[in-house]
């Protein structure tokens, strides 16, 4: 149980500058296994910049990203060799993009999309890969007869679920999500939310999810970080931040939601 309480990820004073312009500034937080952190804020507030800088896609100007690796203990992600970092991103981490086309290979079959990540970590047994791919299709509620179809023949919601399967097949411990329900209509969104919540619980995933949808943030995340102009202006328990916001910008954000 002690390991459960040790942070999986520690971000310290993370700053990303584009010349004089602030992408994100002085962001610090910790994340434990099984914990879901939501990042909310309007477009241009630095959410996606922060996500890219944490997930080793874009080296920050300043600050540290430390990760509890399976074998080597705590490592600074930007001090690793390129090969180590790539391995980490392919195995222990996963990244779910808003547009499934950014996270899938559209010219190979659904099964190959899932199998590819397994092969990248050295799995060579075709039968195992295929059955593993098939079982993941089931987990994301895609019929197994679609295994050999191209993702381009799938609906938007199915493509997003396929992207999730492709990402989770290597049993990652940390998943980054950038507006995962963004382009989907409401009924499809609900199904995806239900699926994500189940997977997070069953696999004890740590998740950092960027969203502009406060309802999605409420239903999925334990903690919430509110960003404005590159800075974290409020950070705490999700329902506390949404129901009793302290910062003027958070109050504005919460009071702007349409009630149904």
């Amino acid at each position: 149980m002690t390991q459960m309480n040790e942070p999986l990820l520690r971000v310290e004073d993370l700053t990303m500058m584009y010349g004089d312009r602030v992408g994100c500034k002085d962001v610090s937080f910790e994340l434990r296994p099984g914990e879901v952190l939501g990042i909310v804020g309007e477009s241009g507030s630095g959410k996606s910049t922060l996500l890219r800088s944490i997930s080793a896609q874009q080296e920050p100007t300043k600050g540290k990203v430390e990760y509890q690796t399976r074998i080597d203990g705590v490592r600074d992600v930007y001090q690793m060799s390129e090969a180590q970092r790539r391995l980490l991103m392919r195995t222990d981490w996963a990244f779910v993009h808003q547009n499934p086309r950014d996270g899938l290979r559209m010219n190979v079959s659904a099964g190959a999309n899932i199998g590819e990540r397994l092969m990248a970590i050295g799995d060579r047994h075709y039968g195992n890969i295929r059955s593993n791919a098939n079982s993941w299709l089931g987990k994301v509620e895609i019929a197994s007869e679609r295994l050999d179809d191209l993702p381009s023949t799938f609906s938007g919601g199915m493509q997003q679920r396929l992207q999730i399967a492709r990402n989770l097949v290597t049993s990652p411990r940390l998943v980054f999500m950038d507006e995962p329900t963004g382009g989907l209509d409401v009924s499809v969104q609900a199904r995806l939310l239900d699926l994500l919540r189940g997977l997070v619980h069953d696999l004890n995933l740590a998740v950092i999810i960027v969203t502009h949808d406060l309802a999605v943030a409420r239903l999925l995340s334990h903690r919430l970080m509110v960003m404005q102009q590159g800075k974290v202006i409020e950070h705490g328990l999700t329902d506390q931040v949404l129901d009793d916001p302290q910062h003027p910008y958070t109050q504005l954000l919460v009071s702007s939601i349409l009630q149904n």
Binding site: S187, A190, R218, H222, L237, Q240, D243, D244, Q246, L252
Partner: protein, 234 residues
């Protein structure tokens, strides 16, 4: 009897930044205690802040001052300063809350929603589902609805789903916000029975009840929040 929750010198004010940063003071100097086996009614007229105070006890609202200590895992934790992680642990295992709102993901079946708090505690799904069935039956939610999302239900049915979910785990402390508000006589009697059962297993309960009959039937004491309103004693 053993003390379970203790609020000391608690104050609350809201600052409305979107409305000229006006500050609305609500409470000051609240002293409140709950012990095992208690069922304390929070009283005060409509709009006096009963639900606000209950939300503070659940750490859904922050406190401007003071402490709210909760007995959790043989230890006293101040819920007003505890980390989000600790607050979630306290809510998972020690502090239950039946609110007036049902907030769930659409399309998740009622049975799963009711069973969820027990599953989260590590109970196997079958046992949890069995208990969920019992509670839904007792609360007269017809079985044909169990596989549907409660978001399609009537207000009274949603309220009963909320109650089933709130009572499925044996929380040592329970907060009940108008649990009988939109219920008919039969269902109200069931909820009263559930409260009595919780009391007899030693739960410490604070509740908001809109009617005297309910209050008189189950409560062991009352707590008038109006006496702690800012300016009440001027």
């Amino acid at each position: 009897m053993s003390e379970m929750l203790h609020a000391q010198n608690v104050a609350k004010s809201f600052t409305l930044h979107t409305q000229g940063s006006v500050t609305i003071p609500v409470f000051e100097g609240i002293e409140f205690m709950l012990s095992a086996g208690d069922c304390i009614a929070l009283t005060g007229e409509s709009g006096s802040g009963k639900s606000t105070f209950m939300r503070m006890l659940y750490a859904n609202y922050t406190c401007s001052q003071g402490s709210i200590k909760v007995f959790h895992d043989d230890d006293w934790l101040d819920i007003t300063t505890a980390s989000p992680h600790s607050v979630l642990e306290i809510r998972k295992r020690t502090l239950g809350y039946v609110s007036q709102f049902l907030r769930v993901i659409p399309r998740v079946p009622t049975l799963d929603i009711v069973a969820e708090p027990l599953v989260a505690l590590g109970t196997d799904r079958e046992t949890a589902t069995e208990k969920a069935r019992d509670l839904l039956t007792r609360l007269r939610i017809p079985e044909r609805l169990w596989q549907l999302s409660p978001l399609t239900f009537s207000g009274g049915e949603q309220q009963r789903v909320n109650i089933a979910r709130g009572f499925i785990a044996d929380y040592p402390i329970m907060l009940l916000d108008e649990p009988t508000a939109s219920l008919d006589a039969q269902n109200r009697a069931t909820v009263l029975a559930l409260i009595e059962e919780a009391k007899s297993r030693g739960a410490a309960i604070a509740g908001i009840f809109h009617d005297h009959e309910t209050r008189d039937a189950v409560c062991t004491g009352s707590f008038d929040v109006t006496s702690f309103k800012v300016g009440a004693n001027d």
